[in-house]
Symmetry: D2
């Protein structure tokens, strides 16, 4: 249940209003926008009489029930777009932010070369996996802490904020200097991990699971936000279907739906979705056209020798060419890039 | 197995070359492009020695095996893009063709009003269902022959070529004045129907089935082409997945894949894919950006009263607005629209 | 909306009752069971007042709305199990009927050998494809009319009723001596074909489509029944999922659901579902345990040389062994086999 | 690559044989069966010459490459069935073990009542969730440590071994008195958790993920076994498909496939698969017939008031009736129950 407050309400009035509900056992979400202040009640609101509250509280403009199970991520509760900021990089409506880098950090030289190159091409955040979720225990599992040091060295050398994937909650302290923590598709419903990163005060990139619905993605974001972390970026990266020609089926319809239903930024990972290098550029363009706020792209200095996911990685020249095209398109779309 | 012939080969030489293979029981596909002439053998080529044929036939530049099961639709066999022409409308690479109209023809007034309006907005082909495939036998099944007359009246009044869906092979004679015959998703593997429309000499729009792979779509196009009809347009319209928020999951990755593997035009139907009006525009833009050659869009003069699929139909104003935007985008993409 | 009539109602009373509704534009389904007579109204019943009708018609015991979109196939409308009879073979609750034979009829010798063998093993209906739906136009398409003659010869020699697949409505007259017409998975929503076989007066085996829901299967059966043909057998044969180790995913949960929601017999095709010979026996046993009324199994005299689907065909010895086991199980389950 | 050793090889000979490979950097899996001793090499065996090793090592009977990516779970590596033992309960080929209990532990009274009842009915292991993975952060999350104490009290009162789900690796010490640790479907590819439970020396029940292939399930079991824990039980619990009438689609074909490819016990959870109470009994019977080694079933003393998953829970009477039937069937199948 949300209550949209009148324009000139004071902080004290809001606190008093919220206090009453919390005293009755409800949790509340307060969303203070430039135009609206919205208070959302969490809990069993079945017996709460919306009209009565509107009539008996001067500060309330109107109230309504939120039928969706997600609250904090819901655009009804928080009508204004959320922009996530990392250093001087913004991710959200009006921007088009490109995160690039290799599937795995392989060496200091590799990650430095890639970082400098993608930065020159216009990427503003660098990705690099150090803890790798691999189907086989015998496959390369990432360089672990050593890889993290290399990634941090690249951050230092370029000034680029970095993102890397977390595999379990005990790694949170290790990732202190990492700018964005990525929750991978296979952990999208690792609820304990979601709660723990919800207690962090740094942005979380939450990838949609391979068999998870759009609503479930929003519910997992709700897990993070319900612990107090409001800096969540959603990422569509393809779902599992019967089609075998692509690695996964990129669900671009999810982008406008997520933007309608939520205020959170939404980006697209065309590399993992397709699993085929030649599809990355067309899908990247489509992602921008459909309304995404950015991309996460795998770029590698030598894809044919990449320790993982080489077949879907662009080489640095291909990445540069794609970025030239995307910048032209961002201009056309009126997006900052 | 394909043989690419040398530039200045004569017709007689080609015929003699082909004749030898047909005498041995092979079928052949001859593809005469502006740059290459390609001969493709169909049949059990396991024992054919490619190198031997290249060495013993002066007119052959090189030969290679076609590993894909589709031949006539294969870009290897037919390297140049196919453009399907309907009246003075072209569908294929370099164009962006919009087919619009209601799910069902409902009355002469309705179809005329819609036809004139979508024509003004820039649609160059009109759609309108008269034989409707409905899940329930008790649902509106279309106006049948009466509806067809109304559609033809609209064609006459506007000069727009028309497309309508066929339900079974006995309807082919009825559709003589229809410009493009549509094979619906549920009939994509109705192989006898594919063979029969393959004997027609008019364009066929072939929709991907709800659970059919990209390769199966190409194989169904091969059914049509193997009967001699080369005017096939492929249409992606969403596949079935576990996601329930959209009617189907639009597989935009299929577009660049189909364009790589085949020379046939590929269009997108965002209306049936999403089943939600507000997703039609973003998906239409994404379809253009990903490389589609056009769109099929449901537009209705009064969607709230449409006899079917109202929830996914644009009204005529919304369609006009979308077309204004798409024209601006076509200019940007360098596509004729 | 259904009305369950009182026990001793006369035919005249029923006719008078029905007549009133038909005069108002409704269609009706009359289901005369040994215990209940049920009248179902088809049409827009939104404004019909159930209670009023119950109160004003002495012959009505009670009435209720049918919320499901399927009516004639609905167990509410027709509470007693339907048993389909073919010669002296019964398919339905209490029986366990095995249909066996090759994917394709290949020669008179082949089909005769298989027919005699599967009959000895206990199959009571013989299958054999003559018009084959194949993904590729270049694959073996069945022996067509010649194959049909061979199948009929096998019927004559063994006395076994036969079932074969129809590909389009023009083939109906050809299939006059065929005992059961099969609608294949790819034609499950070929609605015009459903209507045409609905006009036949012989049993129809309707296979579930690869991407069709249980409700859609029931709706397709409704198409057949709404044309007057009450002899419909439903067949689960696997659906498309992301799993690639099996050809399809056999959905055995569908069997008890279909038996709950409908009165029609339900059989299982484990051969097409799995696509792997070694899975046929375990899935056949599971199908019986879950409540299926029978099986359709591919059996071949020489699977390694079969013209299609050899990998999923049992040889005649394997089929015999399976049948010995199934008979033992039928005894245990209290089913006639 | 596996080497099957000759019958009378000594421990010293085996150690010497293994030592050579480990010195070259390979890992090895040693499987000592009653009939065969098998040594499996893990690592890059591309350059290893199988024949050379067979010829130069007297103790080797034959060797062959293992093409599957799973090794320790592979039946080729470990030809004999694995039986997992918990107290005096056995899970594996020849047994049919039923695990029963509520979705969630709700109170000491509830869990005690259920435990005693299902024990009387013949269940030999008790389930009860205390850490619950819920889609919504606002849904009941289980009674946590308090619930665990109640579950342990029920264990003490009945002597039944207990199983409960783990949510993250920090909970392992908490679960010391739990007999089997369950990895839920959403954590099937939580690789770090798999590694940690792989270091435990107690049985792990590994549920198949909602969108995971059979091969991926085996690979996740490999993660556990590669850390040294050989007591893994696989559990099929339904996968995500387009079908909406059931909660998930139970993939019973997976059972015989898993039993062919692996030596591990395989059980079925019909409750979560179907999500519908009336399907539990038919699916349980089908699971036994298809070859499963047991079941995990949700049973509750008052399903209509269950804090989660009430709609799929049997009440204690229904559970008892099912068990009576299953025992009769186990006798028929020759399985200990």
């Amino acid at each position: 249940m949300v209550f949209v407050l009148k324009p000139n309400v004071t902080k004290d009035q809001i606190n008093a209003f919220i206090y009453k509900f919390e005293a009755e056992g409800f949790s509340t979400i307060l969303s203070t926008g430039t135009e609206h202040t919205v208070v959302c009640l969490i809990g069993n609101t079945a017996k709460v009489d919306v009209d009565h509250i509107v009539h008996t509280n001067d500060i309330v403009e109107y109230g309504k029930r939120v039928t969706e199970p997600y609250k904090a991520v819901n655009r009804i509760v928080h009508p204004e777009n959320t922009t996530v900021r990392v250093g001087n990089v913004s991710i959200g409506e009006g921007y088009f932010t490109v995160i690039a880098g290799p599937c795995s950090v392989e060496s200091t030289e590799q990650i430095l070369e890639i970082a400098k190159s993608v930065q020159l091409s216009g990427a503003t955040i660098m990705r690099g996996g150090v803890f790798k979720p691999r189907t086989s225990p015998y496959a390369f599992q990432g360089l672990q802490e050593e890889g993290l040091k290399m990634l941090l060295a690249a951050k230092k050398a370029t000034g680029l904020p970095i993102i890397t994937e977390i595999m379990n909650q005990t790694q949170i302290p290790l990732l202190e200097e990492v700018d964005i923590i990525q929750i991978g598709a296979r952990n999208m419903q690792n609820f304990d991990l979601l709660k723990e990163v919800g207690k962090c005060r740094k942005p979380i990139l939450l990838k949609r699971g391979l068999a998870n619905t759009i609503e479930e993605l929003l519910m997992s974001a709700e897990y993070i936000m319900s612990e107090g972390n409001e800096q969540v970026i959603l990422c569509e990266r393809g779902i599992r279907t019967f089609e075998t020609m692509t690695r996964n089926t990129l669900d671009l319809s999810a982008i406008p739906l997520l933007k309608q239903k939520s205020h959170l930024p939404v980006i697209v990972d065309p590399s993992h979705a397709a699993g085929i290098r030649s599809l990355v550029a067309p899908l990247a363009k489509a992602a921008m056209a459909v309304g995404a706020d950015g991309l996460m792209i795998e770029a590698h200095n030598d894809p044919s020798r990449a320790l993982c996911d080489g077949a879907q990685s662009l080489d640095l020249k291909q990445f540069e060419e794609l970025m030239v095209d995307l910048k032209r398109r961002a201009l056309f779309e009126g997006k900052m890039m």
